[in-house]
Subunit: 146 residues, 4 copies
Amino acid sequence: MARIVPDPAVATTLHSFRVRFCETDLMGIVHHSNYLQYFEAGRVEWLRRRGILYAEWTSNGIHTAVVEAVTKYHSPAKFDEELTCATTLAEMGGASLVYSYRLSKGETLVASGHTRLACVDTWQKLTKMPREMRDVLLVAERTTGP
Amino acid sequence: MARIVPDPAVATTLHSFRVRFCETDLMGIVHHSNYLQYFEAGRVEWLRRRGILYAEWTSNGIHTAVVEAVTKYHSPAKFDEELTCATTLAEMGGASLVYSYRLSKGETLVASGHTRLACVDTWQKLTKMPREMRDVLLVAERTTGP
Amino acid sequence: MARIVPDPAVATTLHSFRVRFCETDLMGIVHHSNYLQYFEAGRVEWLRRRGILYAEWTSNGIHTAVVEAVTKYHSPAKFDEELTCATTLAEMGGASLVYSYRLSKGETLVASGHTRLACVDTWQKLTKMPREMRDVLLVAERTTGP
Amino acid sequence: MARIVPDPAVATTLHSFRVRFCETDLMGIVHHSNYLQYFEAGRVEWLRRRGILYAEWTSNGIHTAVVEAVTKYHSPAKFDEELTCATTLAEMGGASLVYSYRLSKGETLVASGHTRLACVDTWQKLTKMPREMRDVLLVAERTTGP
């Protein structure tokens, strides 16, 4: 199936949250491994705004496993700061998805990156994405965040 | 089934490890939530030294769920310090276990505590511990650590 | 200085959040070490609603170090569930605070517990709480949550 | 200062450890954010084998901040499995370092990746690496692991 590059205006969702104390390290800044957790939270929210509960999806035996993750760290984030993650579905293949992320603190870019996800079943075997699944990923946000 | 208090000399296992960078917080010390992860690693090692692989145990559908956790923080631990966790099976009931922990850095006590575990099946339902399981928990270490 | 037990109606703050994917373990439920992180987030929000930014507080060299943590696990929480943490200042001494927590999912109690905090300086030395600090902790919420 | 590509035979260190229970997620495998923590532990061990304690280094006000992290996930790792991280200093610039990683379980490649580190001072400002620091990073292992 052809690779699709969705319209970023339609394919982007903003999600805001505060940095937790436990996410900092002895440098006084957010530890770099936490950004992948922020990106993931952004992705879950991205799905929710399109009417998809990832928890339901996985209960049907379809998982999207991260096969590649790239993060660039531009400016450190600190405890209690409010960050906003802009999550975009950047690319869709027959059995894979690429999401890109821009994490900001106000006007300041904190981190950017992308994750490549493969569609797998419960036994971690690559599975073609069902047509309904592909369709639903191309719609705009139905609901806005809290 | 009667409550059993094992002999601490037989029921104790030592496990050493280093503090990871990501386990520290902006105070420059180990974040307090990590100690429960250290205690858990001590408990897994405790089982291994008695010939029990927790991973195998859980694949048989028997889990030990933590129902209570108590930690006292005596002295902060820092990045890269080598800590030793002394894990002791302190008490055994029909469907529950209490493990106690003393975490030290050389002669200095860093943290102490205990966790109460309930024996549950895959659906989180309380299950009486099989006799074989009880017996195996009362033996001394068979092997020593790495 | 005398021990104070604040009025729970005044001394309680509610904070809601969603369980992240990375907070679950292979049992399919939230790993027990994460609850201390939820309690901490509740405590930070408790302070914010009373006009106190913990990040500012710590920059003045006054920290509240956790010296004891107790958690009881009543019912497992799962990925993406919305949990609410009711955080209460339960007790205040000259250089210590006790916060209690009740974490719920709708009507269901998920976990409860308390943490004892000691007032320390940057070098981890016990420090008497300044009068202004004690006073500000006894006021009701000024603002409500997001 | 010229970019240096060290000899991999000299610039590689192996570090083994077990997957902790708390590092798994509801898929039953290690959560993808933990690999950056494994890579970091490998890097700390890499330094130790060359006589460098990162904890001492940082106390001198020189930090190596992660500015880019790339991970490819080849095969899932599970609870209690013993993994080995091969950490290699892949490239050295005037104020930056690139470490590459290959994480294996026996013969199976679990994950690979690299991190780019910038040399910064306590205020996160880019700092040229002192000559002594560069020299010491080019030596072979002095000691072997535990």
